[in-house]
């Protein structure tokens, strides 16, 4: 066996070719990228359809119906077929009926989301503007108290400015409202910049990981 046989390990070799083909997009969309793009979608869809059977329909529909004998699951078949009404003029409305039920189910989960996910954030936004008692022996006690108040006041002001920026129907005629809304937008830009800056490392780490895959796992130039 050749000393370079590791280059031909099917998983790494195929993986490396796939990686290089995708990376070629950044220079120019090309024939090889196109082939791999289509292969990617093909593999993904093949896998999606298979998992729809193996993870959903087989364990949640076929097995209960056929193996456990819960015969009523058969009734879901004509209901599911209603989706395909969109392909005919006559039955198109039936698909809307089924979609309607799904819309309803999706819509009302908002109440739990509002109470469970959102309201805690409202409560957490009550920021005290009075500092807590100083920690004993803190040489910077007044500085800490000062920054506590300033930061909390800033929190309330930023929150208010951003909220006012997002008022659509109230007339923004008064100078005060205009200025707060404008400030809100500027603060948003600063906040977005911060998000941008903090995301770069995570994204670059992914590229570094891919280069490491090519140089270490495949070519073994790096140890």
């Amino acid at each position: 066996m050749n000393q370079f046989s590791y280059l031909f390990n099917p998983i790494t070799l195929f993986g490396a070719v796939c990686t290089l083909a995708i990376f070629s997009l950044i220079f120019k969309e090309n024939r090889i990228y196109r082939v791999f793009e289509h292969m990617f979608i093909g593999l993904a869809v093949g896998y999606d359809v298979a998992t729809t059977w193996t993870q959903v329909l087989k364990p949640q529909w076929w097995d209960p119906m056929v193996v456990d004998g819960q015969w009523a699951w058969i009734m879901t078949v004509p209901v599911g077929l209603m989706f395909y009404g969109i392909y005919t003029k006559k039955f198109a409305w039936m698909s809307r009926l089924l979609y309607g039920i799904f819309f309803g189910l999706t819509a009302t989960t908002i109440f739990q989301d509002f109470c469970q996910g959102f309201m805690p954030q409202v409560v957490k936004s009550y920021k005290p503007l009075v500092p807590p008692p100083a920690v004993p022996n803190d040489p910077w006690a007044s500085l800490h108290a000062f920054s506590f108040v300033v930061n909390n006041l800033l929190f309330m002001i930023i929150l208010t400015c951003v909220l006012i920026y997002f008022f659509f129907a109230f007339e923004q005629k008064s100078k005060f409202v205009q200025i707060t809304a404008k400030t809100g937008r500027l603060i948003l830009m600063g906040a977005f910049g911060a998000i941008f800056g903090s995301t770069i490392m995570t994204r670059m780490a992914l590229l570094i990981d891919r280069v490491y895959f090519l140089l270490h796992d495949w070519l073994r130039w790096v140890h």
């Binding site: 993986g15 990686t19 990617f40 593999l43 699951w73 209901v79 908002i110 929150l159 830009m189 600063g190």
Partner: protein, 280 residues
């Protein structure tokens, strides 16, 4: 509901009889709905949408038994989730038809790039086949590997397709973002306006703070006391926690209220726009 779905021995005539009856019942109901006058269809859809939504609404708002922390609908949640997962899964055909139709047309008319469409279809068929086989016959030996002289089973082929193909394509595409983030920041970070300058300054500070060069810039400042606040890592931290978090919270307030209003319009069939205004 559960007793209706109750298991019965599944080989006797009773089982098959019930299967057929079940089908007939649903078809009869659908037939009746379809026979209803056309002008009432919109109302029928609205009623079903409302009833669908009523489930989660009542489940959340009906008082619960303090001992079990459940009301009479809580136990049904799992069933409703299973039912919508199953029915939702039937829709996979809509995707397959959409994709298949598009590529079949390209292949049959030998349009430019039809070879790619062939690749797509073959890849999909192979992946589908091996994913299914891998689930139920993973250990079946397919052939002897000519290079490595050991036998290759179905799971091995699946791994090449999944680990070598799908997972690597996925990771490589994810990593493309790194390139795009570089070109996007080069283009966007210009002192064109107050807004773009703010975006740029905040991003650069946060970036610098996580590098050696950046932290070295302000390393001469003390780590305690008022001046420490001006160390770049503290400015970055301040931007991320004191500026970013209230701003994000403000956005979330608006988004949540927007989602609440949109949900209500959908649930109560008050939504407007092509799909919702069209003749049915």
């Amino acid at each position: 509901m559960h007793s209706f779905f109750a298991a019965i021995p599944h080989h006797g005539p009773e089982y098959f009889g019930k299967l057929i009856i079940g089908l007939l019942i649903v078809l009869a109901i659908l037939g009746l709905l379809h026979a209803a006058p056309k002008q009432s269809r919109r109302a029928i859809i609205a009623v079903f949408t409302f009833l669908g939504g009523l489930f989660y609404f009542l489940e959340f708002f009906l008082p619960v038994d303090p001992k079990t922390n459940k009301n009479f609908l809580t136990g049904q949640q799992e069933f409703v989730a299973q039912l919508s997962a199953v029915i939702g899964a039937y829709a996979i055909g809509l995707g397959v038809v959409s994709l298949g139709q598009y590529h079949a047309k390209i292949i049959s008319r030998k349009r430019e790039g039809w070879g790619n469409s062939v690749v797509l279809v073959i890849a999909a068929l192979i992946m589908f086949t091996f994913s299914i086989l891998n689930e139920y016959h993973a250990k079946t030996v397919l052939f002897t590997d000519p290079f490595q002289h050991h036998t290759q089973d179905i799971h091995g082929v699946f791994l090449v397709l999944f680990e070598g193909g799908l997972a690597k394509l996925d990771a490589a595409t994810f990593a493309l973002i790194a390139f795009f983030i570089a070109s996007a920041s080069y283009r966007a970070f210009r002192i064109r306006s107050v807004e773009s300058s703010l975006l740029m300054i905040a991003a650069l500070i946060v970036m610098l703070a996580s590098t050696t060069i950046g932290t070295a810039l302000t390393n001469w400042l003390p780590t305690e006391g008022p001046q420490a606040n001006f160390r770049i890592e503290h400015i970055s931290e301040w931007l991320l926690t004191r500026l970013n978090s209230p701003a994000q919270r403000g956005i979330v307030f608006g988004l949540e209220v927007g989602a609440l209003a949109t949900s209500l319009r959908l649930w109560l069939s008050l939504e407007r726009g092509a799909y919702f205004d069209a003749e049915v």
